[in-house]
């Protein structure tokens, strides 16, 4: 019987990078749940809370789509509990391994992001809590403003290294 399997974060080798006015760091590969269907942000928030995921952020991702994300991995039972609680016509796809989160913070964060995305990130247009699925250069990302000078990028796992390396270069 082989050893107990372990998960290897795709950006495991990357240490946080601090540039002038920029900090770049890979976030823990916790959970990323893609929810689709005829529900609302409020209902989903309540559902996550009642499932004990009060620390998870719920982020709109377009028409009838959301991501619920957090730093802790969920086991099969926890996941199943959420799926069972979903209202009819609402579906969940576990993307905890398919999407990787990267945090970008600092006073120059918006300036750096404007080198990749056409979304207007001015405070008046993209305040804290705003999200956008957009292109960063050639790579599709889900972008969230998590603080005054703090953003999170969620990217497909297979693109994570390429995106991180591009961000590192721009952050230098």
């Amino acid at each position: 019987m082989p050893d107990f399997p372990t998960s290897r974060p795709v950006l495991a080798g990357k240490s946080a990078r601090h540039g002038k006015g920029i900090t770049l760091e890979a976030l823990p590969e916790g959970h990323v749940l893609q929810v689709m269907g005829a529900t609302t942000s409020a209902d989903l928030r309540a559902l996550l809370d009642s499932a004990g995921l009060t620390g998870s952020a719920l982020r709109p991702a377009g028409y009838r789509q959301w991501y619920a994300v957090g730093d802790t991995p969920l086991d099969a039972q926890a996941l199943q509990a959420i799926v069972t609680a979903l209202p009819p016509g609402t579906y969940l796809s576990d993307q905890s391994h398919g999407r990787v989160r990267i945090r970008l913070s600092g006073t120059r964060a918006t300036e750096l992001l404007s080198k990749g995305t056409a979304v207007d990130l001015h405070d008046s247009a993209f305040s804290v809590g705003h999200t956008a699925t957009t292109l960063f250069g050639h790579i599709s990302v889900h972008l969230s403003r998590t603080g005054e000078t703090e953003f999170e990028l969620t990217v497909l796992r297979s693109f994570a290294e390429a995106l991180y390396s591009e961000l590192e270069e721009l952050a230098a």
Partner: protein, 977 residues
């Protein structure tokens, strides 16, 4: 070499000296200089040779329109050809070289072209080098390219960084002269998000020359406003749909050694709610003989050098002007103590109220300028006869043309204004307003007022209430301008387009030969086709054409303005997308596992796929692949299948939906089962294939080919959202969520049984089973599929991507005693060809299900599916269509290549006799010879027929025989083991 720098004045920092070189000569200048002003200060007038005739050329302008002073800067990978000396900010270590001369600038062999000038007149491209045809490529073109031309690009890689960025603003102001500054200040005070871009390194435009005191105040206030961003050294190069502007910022083109962490140029895409075009006006050259001799300069340029850099290009200057500007230049020259020999004015009487020392020669023209590499004298003809005046500099002004380039990028046509004797663009277009001299205003106060007023109006249009203009509108008591297109009676060449060496007679010839239309004349004479796009020449050419045709310039019209306004480097357009960032690399979750197992990778689209896993002693890829293939058929192998597209399909109508997108049935697929499916295009031809499994009543899991992963998802979304929006179905791409491993070979069950907790015997988990399974004693959940691409007993195991490497290690460990090996895409290819399985080599956009032997899979009972209607049309079912078969060489020692064509035995090797082609081929280590899949006319009816396999490109012929496409285990005994 005399010093032309005045002892006082100018906006230069005399306390600092900048060292640079021109044609190897060490020179100095000061901060605030451009390369052009520094050369002039050093007494250097001759800076280049002209394109066609190799005539000596000097500095004509002080700005972006410069047609003559094109130099090559930098060295090695930083070499940049054709940069305008007038736009280069002087910096320490700048290396500049003149162009288009050999062996030297002063003595240029190519100047002999001047002697050939009868053959180089307008249309010479079309006339002189017509015959014989074969001479064009081998003789004429190299000759012309050698003789005519610009600087040479370097072959070395550019070591510098470039980047792109996006910007958003309420108001973009293009040009920081009086109108632009007033507009920016007005909008800035109103709290709008303002971007102010100017191509110069100093903001101010004409205020820099005029020495207006308001400039310092305005700049200080703009600087203090947090909502205003000033972008000096930034040229707005294009206006695009939806008010998007392109701009290039020269971030570090003015430093000797760029900071490697900063780009040298930044390409901006600016999304502006409103924009003010305040680009000013361009002074027109006058067309007379020898108007290109070094020392001849635009009057405004001479003023600029005088007032900004304290440089007097000449010791004794003559002024030739048709308007006030020449008098302003003369006044500034005299104020600086420079001798003005005469002011020559073709008008009857000057209305400038000239009070200076120089004599005014009214009703007069400079007919010819004399001199070789420097101006010596001018020949003047007027009412009172002719005279020759000695001068080493000439300031000319033929009036003003508003710079409306950007305003016409989206199709607006310039309109001729008699009052301005100039073409004007529509003053207001949606999102763009022209202000200041660019809209025909002349005085500084009028431009300030106009900029302020138009900014206020533009902001009002986007909801800013009651914006106060910062400057009051001023009357512009501008006299009507009189156009003056060329001087009559010149003996020497009178240049219209300096950069392309088009002179007055060329345009006359064009009209006489029937090419008088402005667009035809442009191409016939090449006027306006150089890198300066005719900034100085177009208007004079239009005037000359108009006069020759006896019509108004309005009737001649302009040629089309197109982006870019000035040349843009490839670096800026490329941004960061170069070298390893040329395109993003996609890595499989098993990438590291493959790497440590020695994989050789191959790029497939963006993916890096493991191609084969060489072992010690193997010297060719074939040895590795043959070993992998044989081992899988004998023992087992593990292959990374993660790059296959994976789509989760949810919804109560998911089954109905799948029934409509696949040509075979899916609605009745039981939970826990997988099915091979074929998707057609609406034209009835196959789009993609793959396996789809039902994981629960309302949850399916689809796999696609690697190539079409993105395309299939888009197709499904199109069908669901636009064709059948009433169906409840949702898609989530899970390609990246699941690491997918193919475990194939007779030992695969034994190996997997050590990992998978459930019973996976043939009885419990038969062929085409698909289930969520427990792994490692309940420590992990995965998805197990009993499907096979190789034809062996095989499984695909999906695990969450992070666990990929760990699980693959475990499988390899468990498989060690069964001699498992890692295998790559190449072995997979051989295995599937041996089994007759198709890929996109066969699904080539021309095949129907029937062509590939899937005819009976197509549902006849489903009421509708994509492609159903067109699949029944004539010809789609014809027996003589190219259909899938196998081919093999008659002599197993011989082989053939993919792409080879099939000829009937004995038929001549002609296209008419082509009967199909080999879609895939490989060496089969199991059979010991080459095998192939082929699409051959009526193929399945011709099994056993001898054919010739013909590779026309390499002239190879191989005798072959048509056979079944299934070379291994046609009874599927191994599959169902």
């Amino acid at each position: 070499m005399s010093n032309h720098r005045l002892s006082t004045g100018g906006r230069i920092d005399r306390t600092r000296t900048i060292k640079f070189s021109f044609d190897g000569k060490a020179l100095t200048g000061h901060p605030g200089d451009t390369l052009a002003s520094a050369l002039l200060a050093n007494g250097i007038q001759l800076v280049g040779r002209s394109f066609k005739y190799h005539r000596p050329r000097g500095i004509l302008t002080a700005g972006a329109a410069e047609p003559n002073a094109l130099v090559t800067t930098g060295a090695g990978g930083r070499t940049e050809a054709n940069t305008r000396a007038t736009m280069i900010e002087l910096h320490d270590g700048l290396i500049a070289r003149s162009q288009n001369r050999w062996p030297s600038l002063a003595f240029d062999i190519g100047a002999a072209n001047g002697l050939l000038s009868p053959f180089l007149s307008a249309g010479f491209y079309y006339k002189t080098f017509m015959w014989p045809a074969g001479f064009w490529e081998k003789v004429y073109e190299p000759l012309i390219r050698n003789a005519a031309g610009l600087g040479k690009a370097t072959y070395e890689a550019d070591p510098d960084a470039y980047e792109k960025c996006w910007a958003h603003c309420d108001l973009l102001v293009i040009g920081a002269g009086p109108a632009g500054l007033a507009a920016a200040l007005t909008a800035g005070r109103a709290g709008a998000r303002v971007l102010l871009a100017d191509e110069g390194f100093a903001l101010g435009g004409s205020l820099l020359t005029d020495g207006d005191a308001t400039l310092t105040t305005i700049l200080a206030e703009l600087d203090a406003l947090p909502n205003v961003q000033c972008l000096p050294r930034t040229t707005v190069i294009g206006w695009y749909d939806d008010n998007v502007f392109g701009a290039v910022e020269r971030v570090q083109k003015h430093v000797a050694l760029p900071d490697p962490h900063q780009p040298v140029e930044r390409f901006w895409r600016i999304i502006a709610k409103q924009a003010i075009l305040a680009t000013g006006a361009e002074e027109r050259p006058l067309v007379f003989g020898g108007n290109d001799i070094p020392g001849v300069m635009m009057a405004s340029a001479m003023r600029s050098y005088l007032n900004r850099q304290a440089v007097a290009p000449g010791k004794r200057t003559v002024v030739f002007t048709t308007n006030d500007a020449g008098y302003r230049a003369a006044a500034d020259l005299e104020a600086a103590g420079v001798d003005v020999a005469a002011i020559v004015d073709p008008r009857a009487r000057s209305d400038a109220g000239w009070q200076g020392k120089a004599k005014v020669l009214a009703n007069s023209c400079i007919v010819d300028a004399a001199g070789g590499k420097a101006l010596r004298s001018v020949h003047i003809a007027g009412a009172s006869g002719t005279q020759t005046i000695e001068a080493d500099a000439l300031a000319m002004s033929g009036g003003w043309s508003p710079i409306i380039h950007l305003a016409c990028h989206r199709g607006a046509k310039p309109v001729w204004s008699e009052r301005h004797a100039a073409f004007l663009a529509p003053e207001r277009q949606e999102g763009l307003t022209i202000a200041g001299a660019a809209s025909g205003h002349a005085s500084t106060s009028a431009c300030l007022g106009d900029g302020a007023r138009k900014a206020a109006e533009a902001l009002a249009a986007i909801g800013f209430a009651r914006v106060e203009p910062t400057f009051l509108s001023a009357d512009d008591t501008q006299a009507a301008a009189t156009p003056f297109w060329y001087v009559k009676g010149s003996k020497g060449k009178a240049f219209v387009d300096y950069q392309n060496d088009v002179h007055l007679k060329d345009l006359g010839l064009a009209v006489r030969e029937g090419y008088g239309d402005v667009e035809l004349a442009k191409r016939y004479t090449t006027n306006g086709m150089a890198t300066d796009q005719g900034k100085l020449s177009n208007i004079n050419a239009i005037g000359i054409l108009a006069e020759a045709r006896g019509v108004s310039p309005a009737e001649v019209g302009t040629t089309t303005f197109r982006p870019f306004y000035t040349p843009v480097s490839f670096g800026a357009l490329t941004g960061t997308s170069r070298a390893k960032h040329f395109q993003p690399a996609r890595k499989s979750p098993l990438h590291e596992w493959a790497k440590k197992n020695g994989a050789v990778f191959v790029e497939t689209g963006l993916w890096y796929r493991s191609a084969w896993f060489p072992r010690a002693g193997e010297t060719t890829w074939r040895e590795s692949v043959d070993r992998e293939v044989l081992n899988i058929r004998k023992n087992a192998g593990l292959c990374d299948a993660s790059t296959l597209g994976k789509i989760e399909i949810f919804g109560k109508d998911a089954a109905t939906f799948l029934d409509r997108v696949y040509c075979n049935g899916f609605a009745k697929l039981p939970v826990g089962r997988a099915r091979y499916g074929i998707m057609l295009r609406e034209d009835g031809l196959i789009y993609d294939d793959g396996t789809t499994s039902r994981l629960s009543e309302d949850h399916f899991f689809m796999t696609t080919t690697t190539a079409l992963a993105a395309g299939v998802l888009t197709h499904l979304e199109f069908c669901a959202q636009t064709l059948w929006p009433e169906l409840e179905v949702h898609f989530a791409s899970s390609t990246d969520q699941w690491a997918q491993m193919a475990i194939a070979g007779p030992k695969s069950r034994a190996i997997l049984s050590e990992i998978v907790d459930e019973d996976i015997s043939d009885a419990a988990f038969p062929f085409m089973s698909a289930r969520t399974v427990s792994l490692f004693g309940g420590n992990l959940e995965g998805r197990l599929f009993r499907i096979s691409f190789s034809g062996e007993l095989a499984y695909e195991l999906g695990v969450p991507a992070g666990y990929a490497e760990s699980v693959a290690d475990a499988i390899m460990q468990a498989g060690a005693k069964h001699d498992i090996c890692a295998y790559g895409a190449e072995a997979l290819g051989v295995l599937r060809i041996e089994k007759g399985h198709v890929t996109h080599a066969e699904i080539n956009g021309t095949v129907t299900p029937g062509d590939l032997g899937f005819g009976r899979m197509v549902s006849t009972t489903k009421p509708d599916f994509i492609g159903k209607a067109m699949l029944t049309r004539e010809g789609m079912q014809a027996a003589d269509r190219p259909r899938l078969v196998g081919v093999k060489p008659i002599n197993p020692e011989t082989s053939f290549r993919t792409g080879s064509h099939i000829l009937a035995d004995g038929a001549a090797a002609t296209l008419e006799n082509d009967q199909g082609y080999v879609t895939s081929s490989c060496f089969s280590p199991n059979l010991g010879h080459t095998i192939g899949l082929a699409l051959i006319n009526n193929g399945p009816e011709r099994l056993g027929e001898k054919v010739m396999i013909w590779n026309g490109l390499r002239n190879e012929f191989t005798e072959g025989v048509i056979c079944s496409p299934v070379f291994i285990d046609p009874e599927n005994e191994k599959l169902h083991a």
